[in-house]
């Protein structure tokens, strides 16, 4: 059936070409295909955008997607940030398209590879301090690891790491298992049941894309929003408290 057999857990193991440590495997191939599809579709649709009140269905689809993502991000992050939209929205759309293309025979979702999910989790892991520092400053961001007391530093750091790991493994496990179950069922009962499992896989894929991106947004928001909350608290009576960290 597909390029993978049942014993291969990750599409990384399907290697088309290899030179030293550089290998062109199924994960990268399908990722590029997905990327190409997304970019070409976006380009085709946004080529003829109109600001009129009558718009094409494709434009309407993209506007609905973008508008809803903006609303979700605004609700979670309490601010309307274009960079948040670009990062979290791309995460969501990429994972969503990767997962939905499961219905295409012979396709293996790149998200079924732990390398891909780890890469995305690392992107989130890096983007959290990136956006945090961008909005709160270097010191402001890192002092939050010392709260409520410096003793909590190791736990905070561990928390960062573990949640990144959880992100990666959750997505990988769900998608990989989904594809595996579908493949096994196709082998056992080629009629009817694979369709049900595919439907389940589509549902899981959409849910996982949503969970991954919402969690990423929550992490980013917690890194950036702490400042806003403290500013709200300190608006009245926290002058000495504000002076201490800047003095030390």
């Amino acid at each position: 059936m597909g390029p993978m057999d049942l014993k291969q857990i990750s599409p990384d193991q399907v290697v088309f070409w290899e030179w030293k440590f550089i290998s062109l495997n199924a994960t990268l191939l399908f990722t590029w295909i997905v990327m190409a599809l997304m970019v070409v579709a976006a380009w085709l649709i946004t080529r003829n955008l109109t600001s009129d009140t009558r718009i094409s269905r494709w434009q309407n689809l993209l506007e609905v997607l973008v508008e809803n993502m903006r609303n979700e991000i605004r609700e979670i992050g309490r601010e309307d940030s274009r960079s948040h939209l670009v990062f979290v929205g791309t995460l969501f759309l990429f994972i969503l398209v990767c997962n939905l293309l499961q219905v295409v025979p012979g396709y293996v979702p790149p998200t079924a590879s732990l390398s891909t999910t780890a890469a995305l989790a690392i992107a989130v892991f890096v983007s959290v301090p990136f956006f945090g520092i961008l909005s709160r400053g270097f010191r402001g961001y890192f002092t939050q690891y010392l709260r409520p007391s410096p003793l909590m530093l190791p736990f905070n750091v561990l928390g960062e790491l573990s949640r990144t790991l959880a992100l990666a493994v959750r997505l990988f496990g769900n998608i990989m298992s989904g594809t595996k179950v579908a493949a096994i069922l196709v082998a056992l009962a080629p009629l009817f049941f694979p369709i049900v499992m595919h439907l389940l896989g589509l549902l899981t894929g959409v849910i996982q894309a949503y969970i991954f991106s919402v969690l990423a947004m929550v992490y980013i928001a917690s890194a950036t929003r702490a400042r806003a909350e403290r500013e709200q608290q300190g608006a009245g009576s926290t002058k000495p408290r504000k002076g201490r960290p800047s003095g030390g």
Binding site: I9, S10, D12, F21, I22, S23, N25, T27, L28, T31, W32, M35, M38, V39, A42, W43, T46, L49, T50, S51, D52, T53, Q59, L62, E63, V66, E67, R70, R82, L85, V86, F87, G89, T90, L91, L93, F94, P110, S113, L114, S115, T116, A118, A119, L120, I122, A123, F172
Partner: protein, 276 residues
């Protein structure tokens, strides 16, 4: 190991590239289009609002203009009505004056006519009265009356003053053979004849020849003629004098007393005519 480190790094890079491409081709363009549409709709709404406001203002303006027009029309109508009323009153007044003038003229004419008629009536009545009186007196005249006339005549000539006597005596002087003629309807009694002749020869001329002639036309009365000069007393003459004096008296006091009464009568008549 499930993680291929190269693949992971490549996927990280792929993700970054995808992010950049989608930002360029998807997010920026879509958001720009949406913002533009939003702005457009907002401006259209604003435009619509402005138009509505201007329409409202125009409507108010038109309503105010209409009100003003109504007011002006009312004023004009009221003025026209007032003018018509005044014109009517003026015309009525004019007509009334014209009618009054006509009536006055008619009343005056009527009054004059009535006065003249009254005067004619009075004069004719007086004349009739005297005519009847004269006729009656003449028919009833007897010896006694004639005697009284002669007696009165004698007293008259006896009472003459010098100038009258002179006037009578002048005439025979120019004409020596003068004759004094005494005429009367009935013959003068002899003793009265003697008395008259005696007075004439004594007072006028001693040679005067006195003749007595009957004259029917004289009626009750007696006449003395001495060559053209005449002294007489007749009932006819007496009544004429009396009549003249009566008519004079009537003319003097008649209109003064009669005019108001006749005037009132006219007015009453006129008003009675108006009522009917």
């Amino acid at each position: 190991m499930l993680i291929n480190w190269f693949t992971m790094g490549a996927q990280l890079l792929n993700f970054l590239v995808l992010m950049v491409l989608l930002k360029k081709f998807l997010y920026d363009r879509i958001i720009r289009a949406m913002d533009e549409r939003e702005k457009k709709i907002a401006s259209q709404l604003e435009e619509a609002d402005r138009k509505r406001q201007s329409a409202d203002a125009r409507q108010e303006e038109i309503a105010a203009e209409k009100k003003e027009l109504d007011k002006t029309r009312e004023t004009l109508l009221a003025e026209a009505r007032e003018a018509a009323r005044k014109e009517k009153e003026a015309l009525q007044e004019e007509a009334r004056q014209a009618v009054d003038a006509l009536r006055q003229r008619w009343v005056d004419a009527l009054e004059q006519e009535k006065e003249a008629f009254g005067k004619r009536i009075r004069e004719s009545a007086a004349r009739q009265v005297f005519a009847v009186a004269q006729k009656a007196l003449e028919e009833m005249a007897g010896e006694t009356l004639q005697d009284r006339v002669v007696e009165r005549f004698i007293r008259r000539i006896q009472a003459m003053d010098e100038t009258e006597k002179q006037a009578l005596s002048q005439a025979p002087a120019a004409e020596p053979a003068a004759v004094a003629v005494v005429r009367s309807a009935r013959a003068v009694p002899a003793e009265k004849q003697r008395e008259i002749t005696q007075w004439l020869t004594r007072e006028i001329h001693p040679d005067l020849d006195v003749e007595y002639q009957p004259e029917e036309a004289l009626g009750v009365g007696i006449e003395l003629r001495i060559s053209g000069k005449k002294v007489s007393w007749t009932l006819h003459q007496y009544l004429e004098e009396l009549e003249e004096r009566v008519l004079e008296a009537l003319d003097e006091e008649g209109p003064g007393r009669a005019a108001p009464e006749t005037g009132r009568d006219h007015r009453d008549n006129f008003e009675a005519e108006e009522d009917s």
